[in-house]
Symmetry: C2
Amino acid sequence: MNKHGGYYGNKKNILDFSVNINPLKTPEKTIENIKKYATKLHKYPEIEGKTGKKIIANNLGIDTKKVILGNGAIELIYLFARAFKPKKVLIIQPTFNEYERAFKLVNSEIFHFQRDEKSGFNIDVEKLSNYIDKVKPDTVILCNPNNPTATYTEKEKFKRVLEKIKNNNSYLFLDESFIDFSNKESFIELTQKYPIFIIRSMTKYFAVPGIRLGFGIGNKKIINSLNKYKEPWTINTIALNTISELLNDDSYIKKTKEWYLKEKEYMNEKLKEIKNINYYKSNTNFYLCKTDITSKKLKDKLINKNINIRTCEDFYGLENNHFRICIKNRLENEYLINQLNLILN
Amino acid sequence: MNKHGGYYGNKKNILDFSVNINPLKTPEKTIENIKKYATKLHKYPEIEGKTGKKIIANNLGIDTKKVILGNGAIELIYLFARAFKPKKVLIIQPTFNEYERAFKLVNSEIFHFQRDEKSGFNIDVEKLSNYIDKVKPDTVILCNPNNPTATYTEKEKFKRVLEKIKNNNSYLFLDESFIDFSNKESFIELTQKYPIFIIRSMTKYFAVPGIRLGFGIGNKKIINSLNKYKEPWTINTIALNTISELLNDDSYIKKTKEWYLKEKEYMNEKLKEIKNINYYKSNTNFYLCKTDITSKKLKDKLINKNINIRTCEDFYGLENNHFRICIKNRLENEYLINQLNLILN
């Protein structure tokens, strides 16, 4: 198994900044809905989640046939790998390390294209285009906003790469799991014109990762290819019956937006003030940072203060002094900032 | 997608005899437990379900390293296929049709060995042994008790086949999803000596198919091979936290045993009395039956009476007059028997 965020030690009441989940916790309405469904579990879930797909499609204003559900977005990474078995995969790095594992399991040859740290981990599109010409990958993988760098790549900027992908009859595998936390635009409308498969998570924004729920969007040809490999009943009844509740919870969505704006501003300001820390501009609900001491050492010191962070030495191209922190609630963020100041100043 | 049991029409209050679930419905304690966990879904599930595996291992009296969890037993069929990619698979038929799909997706060549209908769908072990000699399969698939024939094959009888499988360095993939409903013995102890991977369902017996929960048992070499291909977080928090509740619900288990004994006796007696119906001896919670009219016609007539049955024409080697019914509660069983009598006599 790859390394992931999360705290698995023995301490109680750890403030976990290593997992990028909405700190407002599961919406009350959803909790009530789940309790209601606890008495309806003696039936199998809808085998392909037809009803849920329809709700998502309506919400996005697209055709239901362009939607596929996942037992978390992660199922769809592995499903895409199995269904398309690309010979060559180009991963834009550093990024979520399950892509590499998923495609290695189907024997894809993996190529890495490195984002430029000096430019704040932006993608040098010309360099990438040239690399695509050289490698001729069957699938290019972009996470946008990117985990763990929090970088967002604009549609217009990336179109040049998309043209190339289209001309090569290859695919863009696009992970938009963190797009809901940003005020940036999804690439969904581009799925009409370009061979893009987008995956989205529903459980980070709505703070229900425990139920496992994600979805994918692509043209009908892509979705049909995936369905040939899709396993039955992967999404449980509770997840399926939560979709409508989540997408229609306007008050939670509003509260999240307000939280995000306020805390983002606060964190931008406070991180700037800490000496001996570099942080990269964030387009989502977490920050990639860098310090003078190793992130392992920093993590140990913070654990003593009941704080957990994600060290990043296992991400391709990152070093042993990179770490990732998510944005939580004000009191929690304040406490983190204070502790970072005490340790690093 | 393959065809499966379940009712997807527009009628309300259908008595669904096509799905083999315990009619006592989800245990009350489990429902209460699930309600409690509704407020704990803002955290990711344990990535590999360590705690759950330990509980199952303790319950079975085996080493935790011999256990793997599944998002339903079905995940483990597809996972085994991916991890072992057998060149040749021999399926003992007629049986659950997801095996064939799972192994076809990894390009296994499929061979079918037919149970003998005249002997009540028992396995002719000598014939099977000879067929194994001829085909030399990498994996043999047995469902025991078998879906949809309800036949159980004794350990002692099957040992000859197991010796052959062992000598050929191949595997037995053994689906024991319905063993809990029978009073028959599991093959678990044989996993010490023979290369057997067993899958078990937890959600049929405890009537929680909506949460998706199954597990597998094999020697450490088999489990390690599967873990190399296992995807992260496939089992949701609710399923994981239900394991202990289910396995320790002695009063539900006792109630189920009592229900089963009484209703089995009742059904055996009543099915015998219906003219124009053959049923095969059942070693689990359902019956395979055969009539003079097509099962499609019978199903249509029964749907008019708010009863659903599983027609079986899609099972390898079964015909358009085979159908499967599960055992439900007395009132429901009585109603089914009455309607079958009215239609078939």
